[in-house]
């Protein structure tokens, strides 16, 4: 699972202070202040990326080759990338829609009230509840011998009438949505809270209706941050590994599982470097997502002043 993302939506009360003109020395100090963060980015982001890319460009003997990158065009690998992409897209959209509805429902509650505090806290926990724990929770409840499954069977409902889908690709949708919705609540709530009551008042004063407020003001203002949050959810699902590893043991249907196979297989040998190429493919996809995110973020900034 990815790390919790800091909320990127600008606050409304934080007005940019105008900086006094600086001299050389203090400017140098300012740059020095960037060093810890820059070092952190190099060690934990740039270096692993470069290493992964590099391993994809060499063969097992250390000679330069483009074969691994060529293998990305293999039908099985392409199918895997496609599975990963649609699964991430679907769970991101589901998570975004339901998460936004939860946020909307919470708007009516006082910000310091018990329910809202509880929902905020729960969202923080469940957004990070993934991997083996989450997989086991699903196996124990709606697995073939799960508590809920057995109860439903008692009521004459067989949720596995069409086969044990929980351990296949469709079975990943539910667990993924389970951690996507809370993540949406965390990231989207600040944007929704930033809708100014004055806008609603102005809308009413000028003879608008509730629906015209949402249509002309609410949705346009929220659209950029909604899409940005959706993209964040996409990246979150795209990079998830442990939940799928614990649930789906056959076929390595998503890219992170293909990377595991390439690195650890004891039956198909000598494909360690393919893992590098696969990682490169993932970095490209997430890079594109992040680029879209930044475009949208720039557009969103206009509304947040």
């Amino acid at each position: 699972m990815s790390d919790p993302q800091p909320d990127r939506t600008a606050t409304l009360d934080g007005v940019e202070p105008t900086a006094p003109p600086r001299r050389g020395a203090s400017r140098l100090l300012a740059w020095l202040g960037l060093v810890p963060f820059a070092a952190y980015v190099v060690v934990f982001l740039a270096l692993p990326t470069v290493l992964a890319l590099a391993s994809g460009l060499f063969d097992a003997d250390g000679a330069f080759t483009l074969d691994n990158l060529g293998a990305l065009g293999d039908p099985v690998i392409l199918a895997t990338f496609w599975s990963s992409t649609w699964l991430s897209l679907l769970t991101a959209v589901l998570g975004a829609v339901f998460g936004a509805l939860v946020c909307y429902a919470m708007l009516g509650l006082s910000e310091t009230g018990g329910i809202r505090t509880a929902v905020d806290a729960a969202a923080g926990v469940f957004a990070q509840f993934g991997g083996v724990m989450l997989a086991f929770a699903f196996i124990a409840t709606i697995g073939l011998k799960g508590v809920v499954t057995q109860l439903l069977l008692g009521a004459g409902i067989d949720i596995f009438a069409d086969g044990p889908w929980i351990y296949e690709l469709p079975g990943l949708i539910l667990p993924y949505v389970f951690f996507q919705i809370p993540l949406m609540v965390i990231t989207f709530m600040p944007a929704l809270s930033a809708l100014k009551p004055q806008w609603a008042e102005a809308n009413l004063t000028l003879g608008g209706t509730r629906s015209s407020f949402w249509l002309r003001i609410g949705f346009p203002v929220l659209a950029p941050s909604f899409l940005a949050c959706t993209l964040l959810l996409f990246a979150n699902a795209f990079s998830s590994y442990a939940t799928a590893a614990a649930l789906a043991s056959q076929g390595s249907q998503i890219v992170p599982l293909q990377i595991r196979t390439a690195l650890t297989s004891e039956t198909v040998l000598g494909r360690e470097n393919l893992a590098g190429a696969l990682a490169l493919g993932m970095i490209v996809v997430v890079g594109v997502v992040m680029w879209l995110y930044s475009l949208i973020q720039r557009r969103a900034a206009r509304w947040q002043a």
Binding site: V76, A79, T80, V132, Y167, G251, E266, T267, L269, G270
Partner: protein, 375 residues
Amino acid sequence: MTTLLRTPRLGAGLAVVAAATLALTACAGDAPAAGDSKAATATSVADFGTFADLEAAAKKEGALNVIALPRDWANYGAVIDAFKAKYPEITVNESSPDISSAEEIQAAKTNEGLDTAPDVFDLGLTVALQNTDVFAPYKVQTWDDIPDALKESTGLFVGDYGGYMSIGYDSSKFPEPESLDDLLGSDYKASVAINGDPTQAGAAFAAVGLATVQSGGDLDDFQPGIDFFSELNKAGNMLKLDVTSATIASGETPVVFDWDYLNATHVADNKAWKVRVFPGTGYAGYYNQAVNKNAPHPAAARLWQEFLYSDEGQNLWLKGGARPARMEAMTAAGTIDADAAAALPAAPTTVVVPSEAQSTAAGTLLGEKWAAAVQ
């Protein structure tokens, strides 16, 4: 073999990275002296002098690093404990019990020169054949008892224990399967699992091999086996969940393709668990022992080999339901544990083991076809 718990593996990965970093920064003087050079190049007990000299050299080293030995796999827990009891002066460090054969070799390479490197390996044949440059040749005292087919002629790697591909099933819920095709029937709806993914794990690969020969195919082409599992999947009978002791105990995976000695251990998780080896052509597989040529404890590594191939070590594997390499010779000599031997499932009439070329071809085919076949 895989487990539900991935965290140790992640930990192992981090440890490997950390160790690699250390290796980059360590001065040459920090590396442990690789025993005395005599132990590191010894190819048999004679190079030490007598067996007592080997024991003394191993005790002087005082430690042994083993890797990828799950305690419930072929009775390895008891094997390790017996070794500890026999040589209390030697600390046995067990690391990463659940990693794959390929990862054992990676661990040896990334930890090279550190005293955390594995001394000995327990490997699937494919990985052993590919990595002979990592091994030191060693012939145990009981070398002549081991069938030629199971050993590399110079002792680079030697078959240690093996078994037949089998079907384990919960006899309280299912009839005994008489043939592969029985598993396609509605009795086995959503119940048949393989221990792992054939493109990753040796046991799962062997399951496809068994399905191939049982469907009338031969090991040159695994396609009939892939077709069988594709049919099983279409029938809605295939479970794609990782098999662990927990899933057997909870009844989540009630019918499992696995080595007979691994299926046999599941009786502990489920009293009604039975093991079925089909008559006709069976599929056998042996794991292999090898000594790391850069072992930090070369004498202890060789003593461990001697222990594994002694009557005591071989009988312990047999107790775990595995067929040890010296089984025939020990049966002839009367040193075999007769009760444990009698408890093994009946052997199939003919037995096949894939050659290296067949394994490679099958691996390539599975890489192309498997994921799509079981979608």
